[in-house]
């Protein structure tokens, strides 16, 4: 079959037409020596992306029975998908088309109309050479499994499970400890003005237990996960019975939470287990059990010091919630025994939520001593501190309550290795974009929620869990199929030497090694076609579809050959 290339030059209203001589482009492309033996259809159009323009393009492809298509228009970021959509309505394979950017890369960056026109011709010419080397690619449709695996049954995991579980979607909720509820379950009370109370939390936990679509596995950890969005094969392992369970899920939500910094590891914090030094977590427990603080000797303390930012400097980030929960503890102490002397040692008061200020102000009215320190050290219950002003002071209290920094859970690193994810320098999970895509990971189908992505409080963990649930509900619609990326890498078996270089460089974990045949194989459903492996392959056995060497050479060669003719 002889090639018939359709070249459609878009005027983009006045955007291209005012700065590129579109008529000359059409005229010169028609006359190109290189394409003498090919049939060309060269036309201009006012606005190809308009409804009328798309209809025009569709008719042109059908009537002229084009084998290749060039749209000389705007950036592929804007309308590549629009024109692919048009191709899909016709018999032309969408990968036999190429968009040539003559707006952002010609019209708008070259003020001289002549030179801009020359460059547009050059670009279209090299696009034509490239498109002749393009191959038709076919999309595949894969069945999906809408079920979801959630790792960690803390508040984020519970919320995600409750939001996702439904008639058509099962949720597998796994928890490494023996009960669901996570760290929030241990709390005495939550800031009441935040609208979440322990009773609310209990209700959520009982809802999880009674929901028929949620399958809870306690004392269970993740053993292995293979697969991709819509089709994960998961192995679970019971930590007690060592029994393994195989399940299938379409997405994985990581909500494995956080741990606390060990304050005893600090040089200037010298205290032993017999001293009256407790962490905020232990203080919460005391309040939960008998609504008051008790010293080791069974008596109530008459003076309490609250110390913020323990380990703040060592971990290198603010844990966000400590200032507000220490204030909650101060409130609890005051409410139980107003005569107790409370000293609040803070470095920077971090009160980011709209409710926090109210608490701070009421505490100040209750004449609690807020002391801003520069440096602080502990020797049992005696505190040496340097005030912000530089004044060195020593004081002794009955009880010290510490707010240690939140640190990533140990399981975060295990999960990172198992699922080939990236970690931030602080050790928390790294999202693809902290602001624009905060609950996803670099692997499709794996999401993060709660304090495993950054220190956060309960309300934020719930928001993230709901965000994850929203993402999953739109990506995995029960009964619908997914279309994986088509422009993926492929390995030519005959040339693969089995050096495994590609396995190391693949950020998506899309390549696996076939031990029997001693070659690497690309899992097309995971591959995103970045071509990292192409650059790393010493034997040149990998090619990325739609960005093959020959296609790129043609584009480069043509652009340069024509470029030499510019004289000025």
């Amino acid at each position: 079959m002889s090639e018939k290339i359709g070249i459609y030059v878009c005027e983009c209203g006045p955007n291209i037409a005012s700065r590129v001589d579109v008529d000359r482009v059409v005229e010169e492309i028609e006359k190109l020596e290189d394409f003498k033996d090919k049939e060309l259809v060269v036309k201009k159009h006012k606005l190809l992306c308009s409804v009328e323009g798309k209809k025009f393009l569709e008719n042109e492809i059908n009537e002229n029975e084009l084998t290749h298509l060039i749209c000389a228009a705007c950036s592929p970021t804007d309308h590549d998908s629009t024109f692919i959509g048009v191709c899909k309505k016709t018999n032309l394979n969408p990968y036999m088309y190429k968009i040539v950017n003559i707006r952002e890369q010609c019209a708008w960056i070259i003020s001289d109309k002549e030179r801009a026109t020359d460059k547009a011709i050059r670009y279209i010419h090299s696009g034509m050479s490239r498109v002749l080397y393009q191959e038709p690619l076919y999309e595949k449709q894969l069945d999906i499994n809408p079920d979801v695996l959630i790792v960690g049954a803390g508040i984020a995991g519970i919320e995600a499970a409750l939001t996702l579980a439904g008639k058509d979607r099962k949720v597998f909720l796994i928890e490494k400890t023996s009960e669901i509820g996570g760290k929030s379950k241990k709390l005495h009370e939550l800031l009441q003005r935040q609208g979440v109370t322990p009773a609310n939390l209990k209700r959520k936990i009982s809802k999880v237990k009674s929901n028929q679509n949620i399958y809870s596995y306690t004392d269970t950890v993740l053993e292995n996960v293979i697969g991709f969005l819509g089709n994960f094969e998961v192995t679970l392992k019971n930590t007690k019975s060592k029994e393994q369970t195989e399940i299938l899920s379409g997405a994985v939500v990581l909500a494995n939470g956080y741990e606390l910094f060990d304050s005893k590891s600090l040089e200037n914090f010298n205290y032993s287990n017999s001293d009256n030094v407790f962490t905020a977590e232990e203080a919460e427990k005391m309040f939960k059990e008998d609504s008051k603080l008790t010293m080791r000797n069974g008596k109530e303390p008459s003076s309490v010091a609250l110390i913020h930012c323990v380990g703040r400097k060592e971990v290198g980030y603010c844990s966000k919630i400590c200032c507000s929960y220490l204030q909650k503890i101060a409130h609890s102490i005051y409410d139980h025994s107003p005569k107790t002397e409370i000293l609040d040692f803070y470095k920077d008061m971090c009160l980011p939520n709209k409710e926090d200020d109210h608490f701070y102000k009421t505490l100040k009215r209750k004449s609690i001593d807020f002391i801003r320190f520069e440096d602080i050290s502990l020797k049992g219950n005696s505190i040496n501190y340097t005030e912000k002003s530089g004044l060195k002071k020593t004081t002794s209290v009955d009880m010290v309550i510490l707010a240690p920094a939140m640190i990533p859970a140990q399981s975060t690193n295990t999960l990172k290795k198992m699922l080939n994810l990236e970690l931030h320098e602080t050790g928390y999970f790294q999202e693809p974009h902290v602001k624009i895509n905060p609950v996803a990971t670099n692997t499709d189908g794996i999401f993060i929620a709660g304090a495993n992505r950054s220190p956060c409080g309960i309300s934020e963990a719930i928001i993230q869990a709901q965000a994850v649930a929203g993402k999953i509900s739109t990506q995995l619609i029960p009964g619908e199929k997914i279309i994986p990326e088509v422009k993926v890498s492929e390995i030519l078996e005959a040339y693969c030497t089995g050096c495994k270089s590609c396995l190391d460089v693949c950020k998506y974990g899309a390549i696996y090694f076939d031990e029997r045949r001693a070659i690497s194989i690309v899992n097309e459903a995971i591959c995103r076609g970045c071509g990292n492996c192409v650059g790393a392959c010493p034997s040149g056995s990998i090619r990325t579809k739609h960005f093959t060497n020959s296609q790129l050479y043609q584009e480069v060669k043509e652009a340069l050959r024509q470029g030499e003719q510019i004289n000025d």
Binding site: S75, P76, T77, N101, R103, E104, Q105, C106, W108, I109, I110, S111, R115, A116, D118, K119, R122, Y123, S126, K487, V505, R528, G529, C530, G531, N532, V534, G535, A536, C537, G540, T544, F547, N549, L552, Y553, E555, V556, K557, A559, L560, R561, G563, E564, I566, N567, D568
Partner: protein, 68 residues
């Protein structure tokens, strides 16, 4: 001697996600850029191997910009 001013031909391999987007932004803000830069979009600059670079030089390029 050639009297013509030397105009280097440069090929720019730009990453689809970052530098190509930046080049688009340069276009959208109407920055003046020399026509002797020929932009080739790739999905990721990690795809560029020595073969492609050498072939680009063999094709007559005076300089190559790999940005991503």
């Amino acid at each position: 001697m050639c009297n013509k001013k030397f105009k280097p031909q440069i090929v720019g391999f730009l990453c689809n996600w970052c530098t190509y987007a930046a080049a688009d932004l340069a276009g959208a803000t109407k920055q003046e850029i020399t026509p002797s830069l020929n932009v080739v979009r790739v999905m990721c600059t990690s795809r560029i191997d020595h073969n492609l670079l050498l072939n680009t030089f063999f094709s007559g390029s005076d300089g190559i910009l790999v940005a991503g």
